[in-house]
Symmetry: C2
Subunit: 392 residues, 2 copies
């Protein structure tokens, strides 16, 4: 008998039919004798609907109140799943973040979990109940409602699994595992049966959406075995762990789309201060004494405009493409040459231990990922001799 | 400088435009120097939307989980109003029931408020903030989410006003006061400038929807001055208090529609036990050793069917019409005669100190209310001599 945490995302609970299917799957696990804690996101579309209401009132809504608003979404899905399980004769109970006591810092919209009280969770599990926890939400030390940022339900699941010392944290999603790259962009992308925590963390940091960065970091730190599975079909999914049998030069390619490359006439230090205040992630690609060029998500432009509107110029649509693997730097030059041969311009590149990131025009993203995936991920056998690739 | 509690119902916050209008009105009050606590319902339609989702899963959803589900509605409206006020340069903060600490008993779906902690409310008010409290919701002693039943936001408002010893509790709604009867059914119904707590309580108990019974009882017990106002137009509304200058024989007529008169082959005592267990309100009109005839809301039929399905017979659509006034029993016979002359059958009647209730066919409700209102409320001068009315 194991203790499992099962997390279902928005698409998995996107309709009453889907919720009923999740109920069936959770009951299956329970019937095998396991203890089950379920962590849910809001029904798909709900978070965007609520955000849309807020933006009708204020383009940049009060961060505290935005969290009050958005957490209503998970409260709906946990109640509905509990009803569906109870209707089937099993005993389920929903719990919001404050009922579990999921304590976070006070960084509204992007909070970090500080602690999770397991007393009430454990007492419900001892009573044989299936416990359904609202993902994405927490409470700060003043009992204000906080959220963990988009995708934060993964973090909740991993943190709950860590606190309960669960045997596995299973992330059910609309894809059946972690892929070499986004299969919606590159249909030939392949599912990885396993991936090392190092690489998963870098992929997530560079925009792979299958798992949220904070959740991977948390799982790694607390050594929580993590598995990505499909909500819709049976399968083994992808196991994220500390030992992998096979580590190719390029494990996968992560893509961050809908970004803006901006030139701002403000010294980088001053800019960085403001960016930290907003809690934004930026890539500072160049800087001089008086100005800097940075890459930010389009969604974050409105905030920067609040402060720097008349100092921003040359805004262009870009994507960041990040290749991950222990020795991926050895093929960086070959990749740039390959793209150049395909008439794709690389504006900037950044090399880290196990990752090379390239800044390209948004319009080029599909071709670029396809070409690199074909040449450097699928043709892994070529990678023994990178020099061959430069001329291919 | 007064301390005011202002409650706005679902229609008043039914759209972004309405929420902006409420923001303006609350700010007006604040600008007059008053301290303001706002209590909100869910946006109109939201509670029914959520209930609809639940009923797709289970016709009789788990009561505990239904409360988790429904309270998401107020969480949305309080956050949006706080944003709208903040956007206008005033300082607002939203609070859920658990943040205020509104303690109730554990009667899910129909809980009673036990206590309200005023510490956090008062500290926010001291800081000059407009505090926006989620109506309708509470927490039991195990921190489970509870709701106060339909219209429960009124109760929250009155209870908060009582706990804070507010100068007035203002209930903003889609009508501009308490009327002699429902003006949507009888257009000539008149607004009462004031009404005695006794009569208001009886009107509410008998189905007048303008104020919820529990809230009137609570306001009366805690001597909270209560005022019903329109959200949409200026005006004095109706003041509910302990002294009224004028008390006609028939103050008003309350109507309960969509009810069922059922014959159940179960002794009344046994039936009553089950009804109490479900927390239903019924009118037991007849009973023998082996059976009883009761009136229940159509909405409650499903629950009774769970237990008594094969013992229920003769279900008919009825309405209850209740006339309120200190001496209204003196005209009871005249009313029945008048209805009889209009070919409206009164199945049963019940006389209490300040109220006479009549059971009529659902199809007759409009004519019956119109006739009685015209003869006994509008023509108050005739009431000095009730015998005149019997032959009119």
């Amino acid at each position: 008998m194991a203790l499992l945490v099962q997390k279902f995302g928005g698409t998995s609970v996107g309709s009453i039919e889907r919720i009923e299917a999740v109920a069936e799957r959770v009951i299956q696990t329970r019937q095998l004798g396991h203890k089950v804690v379920v962590v849910l996101s809001a029904m798909s579309g709900e978070t965007n609907r609520l955000l849309g209401l807020a933006k009708q009132i204020d383009e940049v809504p009060t961060p505290r109140e935005l969290d009050v608003l958005l957490t209503a979404g998970e409260q709906v899905s946990i109640a509905l799943l509990a009803m569906a399980i109870n209707k089937r004769g099993f005993n389920a109970v929903s719990m919001t973040a404050d009922q579990v006591t999921i304590r976070t810092d006070n960084a509204f919209n992007n909070a970090n979990i500080i602690s999770i009280d397991t007393d009430r969770l454990e007492s419900q599990l001892e009573q044989g109940k299936i416990v359904i926890v609202a993902g994405f939400q927490g409470r700060d030390s003043h009992n204000n409602i906080t959220t963990l940022g988009r995708g934060g339900s993964d973090t909740t699941a991993v943190a709950v699994a860590g606190a309960l010392k669960a045997d596995e944290c299973q992330i059910f999603t609309d894809v059946d595992g972690v892929y070499t790259t986004d299969p919606r962009i590159v249909p030939s992308a392949a599912r990885l049966p396993e991936i090392h925590f190092d690489h998963m963390q870098t992929m997530a940091a560079c925009g792979a959406k299958v798992l949220q960065l904070q959740s991977v970091e948390y799982a790694r730190m607390h050594k929580v075995p993590l598995r990505v599975l499909s909500s819709f079909e049976e399968g083994e999914g992808t196991l994220v762990n500390f030992e992998t049998q096979h580590s190719p030069v390029m494990v996968g390619i992560a893509l961050q789309r809908q970004q803006a490359l901006i030139h701002i006439d403000v010294p980088l230090a001053e800019l960085q201060q403001q960016v930290d205040l907003f809690g934004l992630q930026v890539w500072a690609v160049t800087n001089t004494a008086q100005s800097a060029q940075i890459v930010v998500a389009n969604d974050d432009l409105a905030r920067l405009r609040l402060v720097f509107d008349n100092k921003m110029r040359h805004i262009s649509d870009v994507s960041t493409l990040s290749m991950v693997g222990d020795n991926v730097v050895t093929v960086a030059e070959a990749v740039v040459t390959t793209l150049s041969n395909t008439n794709i311009q690389v504006h900037h590149n950044k090399q880290m231990t196990d990752c090379v990131s390239l800044l390209i025009n948004e319009a080029d993203h599909q071709t670029a990922v396809e070409v690199i995936h074909r040449q450097f991920v699928v043709n892994q056998e070529l990678l023994g001799n990178p020099s061959l690739l430069a001329v291919s």
